[in-house]
Subunit: 490 residues, 2 copies
């Protein structure tokens, strides 16, 4: 059907064609189905959306990516036709029925996800298939390869690129800025890209953003890394493994995280950024994403997939029973990080020790320290102030923000209802409380945690302080706190 | 976040809120996530979509249903906040993990689907769970009940309502208008609502639409049925079992059709329209949706679910090895139906016999004919012209269209490449050919089928004629025909 383009100035990040109701009916199209838009031999597939009262029968509105791709402007005519689903839907169906997929099939699925040819429901079927039937080692290799090859790959002035990654789930666990500063100070090249919070109260990119710019082109990153050995940036806009963002968005709807996809997601990103050495931190425990058995299983698979792609990997299992550090929330976590780096007293020892542990492993992996001597060197670099100097250097290259780090203006102290020993602090609830308080968008909102597990408290002693930008959010967090068991004292 | 409403005149049939990119970022929202829109204590959940360059930071565009529900107009302010997914996502997760769902859990899922609170990806997870783990009989009862109770229920001037249904998959199988005409002529009340084509070349509503209006309010339907005993309408706009349309849309992406959902989908619609007697036709065979074993299995389950809801049911298994009748496509099928009703010679005997068989069963179920005498009475009503008279009456009450039924203007004859006996005609390929030729939107496009299975043909004899509105579509159909085995002669 030949239709005239009408402007809508819509750029939804994916190809969408808006059609009038009666046009859609004529094409026997439902919302979410695919149409082919063609002009002069060029074709692109888009998802149809249906509007009433805005477009006429013979008009179509196209999202910007389609207009750019087809080189058309408002007022031009394009052909719009119903198309059948791509072949990859058949392969997804096969996976859902329990079949093993070939390299070609996995590549076609991942390419179609990257090119926006599959709807979120179709991606959900793929995730379901992987969740229900798992993936073989071979399939996981293919998935990882497909994910990184369909995206942008970064290149640096050296091949000896180091990266670290934590599978997540632990509130306040902000070791990355400290580890990167120590390692970069020791001469290691560590172009670290991190994510923003997905379900937690804050991600490393959110924390860094409180004091510096984090969104760069790959060219800018190259310049920053060449100068300072490192960066502490947001990876979201670089186009690394683009299928991964879409898979994560769909997985997250039900908090599904099939193991093969978790591994492929992490390692494809590491391959995209050109890593050679990779340290992966797997926190385990009843409050963490995995228990010890699952952590060991995951470690084995990470090593196999890493080896397949020639990565030099270390996997460390850490205790994930409770939050790390005192601050939960972007500004509060940055304050913890700065206290450790600046050697201010007091500072969170658990955060410092975990950062030293991780940095020590990297120093040994890269032969900057002899076997068994990594932690000592890491501590020395931190205590001497060299790590802080390096951090300042990175921040100033990225563009330091002129701002005072203050917690949000409304606060409320939570006191212990009884005396005893703290036996548990729930990570998930702590993160959820942080979200309710306004994190990460209100970056100075969050929680200050005064105590950790195994510590004794007296009745009436302050356990937590909540910070929020409005009394309403404070009240909501308090309601949630009262209804749930965040801290257990016995 | 307090935002000002900007008009977009968008009515996408579901609650959508359009936000500026930076506003979405501030709310930490991604496309497809949920927001709560509130005004004056009234709240509604909407799906977020993100636009660039149309809205300012402090503006939001809302789809019409939201504006109506919250009683707001462009220029008013509303609160827009991120909300966590509804509880039903947890129950979907449980199903995907293989757990059995309770009545309350199934009701919450179906209610949330009906109210547009679940995304298509979340619905896909529910479909996957049902596909992978099946549903118990009890769960199927709950699903059926939830599906019809969350929608509109129709009421008539009598309780003795009769309905028929075919599980589909057979090209050209247009018995409904004939069966309804025969039964209504015998005094049976049969308010038949049908669907449009989903994946086939045409649905009963598409075929009826070639000669009459099919889209009515429930009030109009009551008037038509009171006058004529029957209707032959489209059920799509009546709001019957609204979750079903959404489930079907998502299932269809991968042609999934979990058995429990198939049963619940059909029986919830029958319960919504107030049926007491239901005849279900299950075509089986290698070309049909199910084989004989599956058909028998399905029959057993249909009877159990029907009994649970107090329906008087008959299930008939019919041969589904090949298309029925000569015409495939809305106009061509209506011509077949009219030839049978008008007793024109020649007319498709297979279509006539199947219609008589089905009508006969209904006449016996409703005691209009004694046991074993239904077919005889059905034939008599058809041959006497009473069925045609009733058909004309229904059509004229619905609003007859003044139009000549002519096949599309471009045609091409397909001739036999060899002499022999026809041993197979593929239903799926026939339907697909119909789609490629332009069905159902080009309602006069389609296929005329001269021969059926077991008939002998000579080399060069015409097997099929293709009809299309453009030479391009004719060529595409011919290409597909050449590449596939639609008719097998041996």
């Amino acid at each position: 059907m030949r239709l005239k383009i009408k402007t809508l100035k819509l750029d939804a990040g994916r190809p969408i064609a808006f059609l009038n109701e009666s046009t859609a009916k004529k094409l026997h199209l439902h919302i979410g189905e695919r149409v082919q838009i063609s002009n002069d031999g060029q074709k692109i597939i888009a998802i149809a959306d249906i509007v009433k009262g805005f477009l006429k029968k013979d008009e179509v509105s196209l999202s910007q990516e389609i207009m750019g791709y087809l080189k058309v402007s408002p007022g031009d005519f394009v052909d719009v036709d119903f198309v059948l689903p791509p072949k990859s839907t058949q392969f997804i169906m096969n996976k859902l029925a329990g079949k093993t997929l070939s390299r070609n099939e996995i590549f076609m699925i991942i390419e179609d996800i990257s090119s926006n040819l599959l709807t979120e429901a179709e991606i959900a079927y793929f995730v379901s298939g992987n969740y229900e039937h798992g993936m073989s080692m071979q399939e996981t290799f293919y998935l990882t390869e497909a994910m990184y090859k369909t995206g942008v790959n970064l290149h640096w002035h050296t091949k000896d690129i180091v990266d670290k990654h934590c599978i997540g789930g632990i509130a306040g666990n902000r070791t990355t800025p400290i580890v990167v500063s120590i390692c970069a100070a020791a001469g290691i090249v560590m172009p670290k890209t991190s994510s923003r919070a997905i379900t937690s109260a804050s991600g490393t990119a959110d924390v860094m953003e409180t004091i510096t710019k984090v969104d760069f082109s790959s060219k800018d990153l190259q310049r920053i890394v060449k100068q300072t050995n490192a960066c502490l940036a947001w990876g979201g806009s670089l186009g690394l493994a683009p299928s991964d963002d879409k898979l994560i968005r769909v997985e997250r709807l039900l908090n599904l995280d099939p193991e093969s996809q978790l591994i492929a997601s992490i390692l494809s990103k590491k391959l995209s950024v050109g890593s050679k050495y990779v340290l992966i931190d797997i926190p385990f425990g009843k409050n963490a994403k995995v228990n010890k058995k699952e952590a060991l299983e995951l470690k084995k698979k990470f090593l196999k997939v890493g080896k397949h792609f020639g990565l030099k990997m270390e996997i460390i299992l850490t205790k994930g029973d409770e939050p790390i550090g005192n601050g939960i929330g972007p500004v509060l976590e940055m304050k913890d990080v700065l206290r450790v780096l600046r050697r201010d007293a007091p500072h969170p020892k658990d955060l410092e020790e975990k950062a030293i542990l991780l940095a020590g492993i990297i120093l040994e992996m890269t032969k900057k320290a002899g076997k068994g001597l990594g932690k000592m060197l890491a501590r020395e670099i931190l205590e001497s102030g060299r790590a802080y100097k390096k951090f300042e250097e990175i921040i100033s290259m990225q563009g330091k923000k002129d701002r005072e780090l203050k917690p949000a203006r409304y606060s409320y102290d939570i006191k212990a209802h009884s005396s005893g020993k703290i036996i548990a602090i729930d990570n998930k609830l702590t993160n959820l409380l942080g979200r309710v308080l306004g994190c990460p968008s209100d970056d100075s909102a969050g929680i200050y945690l005064y105590k950790h597990c195994k510590e004794r408290v007296k009745k009436g002693e302050i356990l937590l302080t909540f910070y929020a930008e409005s009394p309403k959010k404070l009240r909501e967090a308090l309601d949630l706190y009262k209804k749930s068991k965040v801290i257990i004292i016995k």
